[in-house]
Symmetry: C2
Subunit: 400 residues, 2 copies
Amino acid sequence: MYPLLQGLSVIEASSFVASPTAGLYCAQFGAEVIRVDQIGGGPDFRRWPVTGENDSLYWENLNRGKKSVALDLSSPQGRELLQELVRATGQFITNFPVGGFLSHETLSQGRADLITVRVMGWADGAPALDYTVNNAVGYPMMTGPGPEPVNHVLPAWDLLSGAYAAFALLAAIQRRSVSGEGGEVRIPLSDVAIGTVANLGGIAEVLYSGENRPRLGNAVYGLFGRDFVTADGQRTMIVVVTPRQWSNLIAALGLEGPVAAVEAERGVSFAKDDGLRYDHRDALFPLFEAAIGARSHADLAAALDAGGIVHSAYRTMLDAARDPRLVGDNPMFSAFDANPSGFAYPAAGPFGTVPQLERGAPQAAPRNGQHSEQVLAERLNLSSGEIARLIDTGIVGTPS
Amino acid sequence: MYPLLQGLSVIEASSFVASPTAGLYCAQFGAEVIRVDQIGGGPDFRRWPVTGENDSLYWENLNRGKKSVALDLSSPQGRELLQELVRATGQFITNFPVGGFLSHETLSQGRADLITVRVMGWADGAPALDYTVNNAVGYPMMTGPGPEPVNHVLPAWDLLSGAYAAFALLAAIQRRSVSGEGGEVRIPLSDVAIGTVANLGGIAEVLYSGENRPRLGNAVYGLFGRDFVTADGQRTMIVVVTPRQWSNLIAALGLEGPVAAVEAERGVSFAKDDGLRYDHRDALFPLFEAAIGARSHADLAAALDAGGIVHSAYRTMLDAARDPRLVGDNPMFSAFDANPSGFAYPAAGPFGTVPQLERGAPQAAPRNGQHSEQVLAERLNLSSGEIARLIDTGIVGTPS
């Protein structure tokens, strides 16, 4: 935790990945993020992976450092309490439907300067998920060795939408600080996906060429990069992005002569041109496969490191979780045993490191309704008697 | 373009995807983003996809709406000019090395409240790229039907790091507006990747179970979701996340009886439990394969839409680029013919839609050095004579 956003409070009414990560990133930078859920948990409260006791390891990591208010959102009174919390706070992150009781139009009545950031499926309000926008924009047809499409496992569009939502929230706050005006920023997953295709040149590329990029397996488009297997069977990714890395790589592998022979035969120079190294990969890859296949991974890694060449071994997630550089010795992680699940494991702080500030410890996710009483008292000035009545009538939930 | 960040100026010295997208998102929200590059273009200036004239369709989309200053960054004087531009502006996005002439320590001498956001490879300064952190954290070993690892094609870690960098910039500005203090936020790709594994519960999952998640092909972990093929051969992704979607899906496919038979045989109820639908996918998937395989895609899509069930057909990127809903009729896109490449195609604006504001038109990427004279005059108060001398001596570049 770094206190960059200290003093900012946000109401989050959301589920799954995209809008919860927006709240998480804000909380990790010191904002007060109050997540409001259905009593007993929203649709993502038991999302897998879960423990043997059905506690979600997913939920308890996506909601670290947030406060939890539990309301009966199927009742008019519960819905009103959420609306009032949003109005009293002034900043709102959600993936609730654009037109329902959490529409910006409804919420901004009584809070004209409200800022709402809403992650959506399609821009027109139709439902979509990471896994459906991904195949709508074409990536699975380009992924893997073919011929079948391959879905990504990483929910990349959710994650990008979440980080962009956190950015959009602060951008809208920046504007309000100048103009006094609030407003809504709608972020449809479908626009994030097709907009990213456009930003990376993909729309231009396919319309220019009139055809789809070929499948490349594990090779990288437009430069020299691919997975290779060492003599001791370690698959390793190697990617070259600078002239120095290229010359160091062929020197490290003793391939100066064979590469020069390809250059002479084809009348090209690979020294400074990513595209040529890609175009002539049919001639280059076999040379590198043989040279790398004759070395142990330890020898290869040492030679590549000495040459500043970017490489990394393929690992499983369990290997990664046990890796000192990635987790054990990484200051972004701290040993942590205060998780709602009761399971102890390294907890992550924010991705960003601020050398000028002390890194605060990671925090626990709340139990459902853990902060209901505190938040209703502080934000809505409800008396303890009023809150007790709301709990008794099942409108407000607290941990059992 | 929406003017949320009007009045904010940022210097960007960067290349490839991550830090250029941070600048792009700021520019699309109205910030003045001044990209400073080597004269003739940085290492990403000819990155594929390129046109027949070797103009990068990638570069001209990742840098829309930015200004370009071209300097000879191999000369001490060029480097000093970049340092002075950063100090004069006060906000800096970069992926240059942490310890070089663009270190925050060096730059903040003379500009104590400077904010630097730096995208890095590893946190310790060692080089890494999207494609190498991805296999270091385990995703390719979980992707595809197996047994070989499958790299993603989408540069997901770069994209997430870029959006997070834009967020971190505004968070640091927010803190400075309160405290007066600047500082650096370092965002290593490796921490974004392993931190995301942690945020999604992956670290906890593998340490809890002691094993890796099995490969699932195109199925989604922990809920009912997979690709199916219709009678007319259209592969379609279907994902169920709510009880209502589940009951509507089995009704739409006439599977109430067969699903009830599985429930009776196995002693479970699928009505409200994502995890059970996933656990018993061996019994469920064949029922759905047969029911979907007996219908045309048009019939299936109509039935799913009527039930609010999330689905989408697999398409190629060319199909996506020609799709009216995604591009042609999507207000995020505008027809655009002022690209440096000379090729005309739909250009994307920001992912976020602000209903309260008018959407400005997308803008062109600059030519290398297009704004050198303007920016040096405005930001560093150089006279036209001084600028002319810098151009003559090759320290400053302008479009040829």
